[in-house]
């Protein structure tokens, strides 16, 4: 019943960055997302797409990273778009009262 390892796919093209996460976002893996976002943002972005569609689990350590990015986007004037996760993962955002404050998008590139 081991979970697949947590993975981050990171890319940027013409000012749009994309972080695609898969696996479980928690205390151990959240710092890797902060680090990857930091590296992308250092290049200067107008939009960061955070793709959570392959995320299998999130807890408050993961929520914290997303909220930090959200606040940073507001402060620095770039756009954070979050590709909607699975129903179970999205429910954690809803329970926390964050779902309405974040910019969730449905579309998934390539569809």
């Amino acid at each position: 019943v081991d979970s697949p390892p947590f993975q981050i796919h990171s890319e940027a093209d013409a000012g749009e960055g994309r972080l695609s996460l898969s696996g479980e976002l928690d205390l151990a893996t959240a710092p890797r997302v902060e680090q990857a976002a930091e590296e992308l943002l250092a290049g200067g972005l107008h939009t960061l797409v955070l793709d959570l569609s392959d995320l299998r689990f999130i807890d408050s350590s993961g929520l914290r990273v997303v909220v930090i990015l959200h606040r940073r986007a507001e402060d620095e004037g770039w756009r954070l778009s979050i590709v909607r996760p699975s129903e179970q993962v999205h429910r954690v955002f809803e329970i926390s009262g964050l779902a309405d404050r974040l910019n969730f998008i449905e579309d998934r590139r390539g569809l």
């Binding site: 081991d2 479980e24 205390l27 807890d59 408050s60 909220v67 606040r71 179970q88 429910r91 009262g97």
Partner: protein, 133 residues
């Protein structure tokens, strides 16, 4: 707090960043046989992750003191407790500098049927989930 019912799990976890993932894996493996529904199973893993993460980050006990995860089940209820070597706490005031990271207790309060914290040593946080929900 009653923890009657079948003991499902008693696990000592080394206090490090991988403890939450190990705790979730152990709980998922152990509770698979109960065939709880997907939402309840996810909530169980979520709250276990919250309690163990909290113990890893905030225990005032010595770093080498293990975290003890204990779980039991009746037909109606799943009960979990997480104990560390801290001195207990009262879940009331939340320091402002933790505001961004303060979702853990909120998730616990909003999803558990019952929950509580012992305000004396050792720190023990517990919750119950209704299997009927």
């Amino acid at each position: 707090v009653s923890t009657q019912g079948a003991q499902m799990l008693e696990l000592e976890l080394e206090r490090d960043g991988s403890a939450p993932a190990r705790a979730r894996a152990a709980v998922r493996a152990r509770f698979a046989e109960l065939e709880v529904d997907t939402t309840l199973s996810f909530t169980l893993a979520l709250l276990v992750s919250e309690l163990v993460s909290n113990a890893v980050l905030h225990s005032l006990g010595p770093p080498d003191a293990p975290i003890v995860l204990s779980a039991s089940a009746t037909r109606e209820t799943i009960s979990v407790s997480v104990t560390d070597a801290g001195k207990g706490f009262s879940p009331v005031a939340r320091p402002a500098d933790r505001a961004v990271g303060g979702f853990g207790l909120e998730l616990l309060a909003r999803t558990a049927s019952r929950w509580g914290v012992d305000s004396y040593a050792p720190t023990r946080v517990w919750f119950e989930l209704s299997r009927a929900a």
